[in-house]
Symmetry: C2
Subunit: 197 residues, 2 copies
Amino acid sequence: MPSAKRTELLDAAEQLFATHGFGAVGIQQVLQEAGVARRTLYLQFGSKQDLVVAVLERLDRRWRERTTAYVNQEATTARGRLTAVFAALRDDVERPDFPGCVFARAAAEYGPARSRGDDLHPARAAAVAHQAWVRDWLTRLADEAGVDQPRTLALQLGTLFDGTMACAQVKPCPQALDAAIDAAEMLIDAGLAAAAL
Amino acid sequence: MPSAKRTELLDAAEQLFATHGFGAVGIQQVLQEAGVARRTLYLQFGSKQDLVVAVLERLDRRWRERTTAYVNQEATTARGRLTAVFAALRDDVERPDFPGCVFARAAAEYGPARSRGDDLHPARAAAVAHQAWVRDWLTRLADEAGVDQPRTLALQLGTLFDGTMACAQVKPCPQALDAAIDAAEMLIDAGLAAAAL
DNA sequence: GAACAAGTAGACCATTCGGTATATTTCCAC
DNA sequence: GTGGAAATATACCGAATGGTCTACTTGTTC
């Protein structure tokens, strides 16, 4: 069971990072927002870097739980579940303070994607893990729906998914959101049609 | 004609920003990399912020020139030009040091997408302008190709475009790139088929 | 009530940041 | 040659950074 102070630190950091980015937020801001002493932060997390990673990992865990629960509750058929993923995306993106994909933003701030050594930044590693999980989940759903080439469809839907968030983060655009969801439907249908041949 | 030193500063800043992000790069690094005196930078650009914006604007201008030239040379038909846009994307993304979409990264680092007042950060404004231009260009190409609902197709292709870069920035994935380009082809064909009815 | 872990405030550290000021040097046009 | 613009090096500024340390106050549990 995590300490109450630890939770408050994570809450404050998550909100601040989502609003202003990671590098732009100082430790002091997090402390003030959380109402927690400096020492406590450095006892709970060894460094700012560890705090960032902890925020990303909690975000990842919560996103998985929330989204899978939503999708499983919203739809009963495998095909409906694929659609529901994008309904969940719509809910996120349409929120007035939608921060974009925090994992993409972390990857944008922390180090190059291809490093010389294999020592990629831990924050980037969290982003990679998140992305991989989403891809795998979509692959599973596509497979259950019985489409032709589930992996390919999953990658296409994942790209639409990421693109929608990237687009909304630059400038929210309802038409683009609708169009992307329509595109997802078309791709799913095409995959089902190909399997029916 | 821009001063030689100004160009060297833009070159160095562009490379450093692409590799490490904007906030993570200090003025001093830019100066050292460019081999230019501190004073000169602040005479050419009033502040770091202005330097960032100048880098983004030059990047935007060059991208337009390079990509339109590539597309116009590569294809003769309107339909072929739409496809060629994604061939250009492939060339970019497959480059070993592909930094992701620098405009998306700028938007990620600078300020929330929805501000209370209408005073959005100038770096974000550059990103918005770039995104809008790409959308409009795709709309024009889709219109010339004679598809049904050119704007909708343009938004869909734009989302695939952004998603591909976002995906590659987190972790390069050749299969995802191929799948996204296939998806683009399918969407274009569907738009043409709908128009033929 | 004493031990003990957890949290507090706040001083302190070296470093770096973006930005300014000064004084000097380079170089080309006239 | 000489004037003047452009670029140079470098010292300096205040502020903020991430992180450490000490000393004090809780609250809980034997």
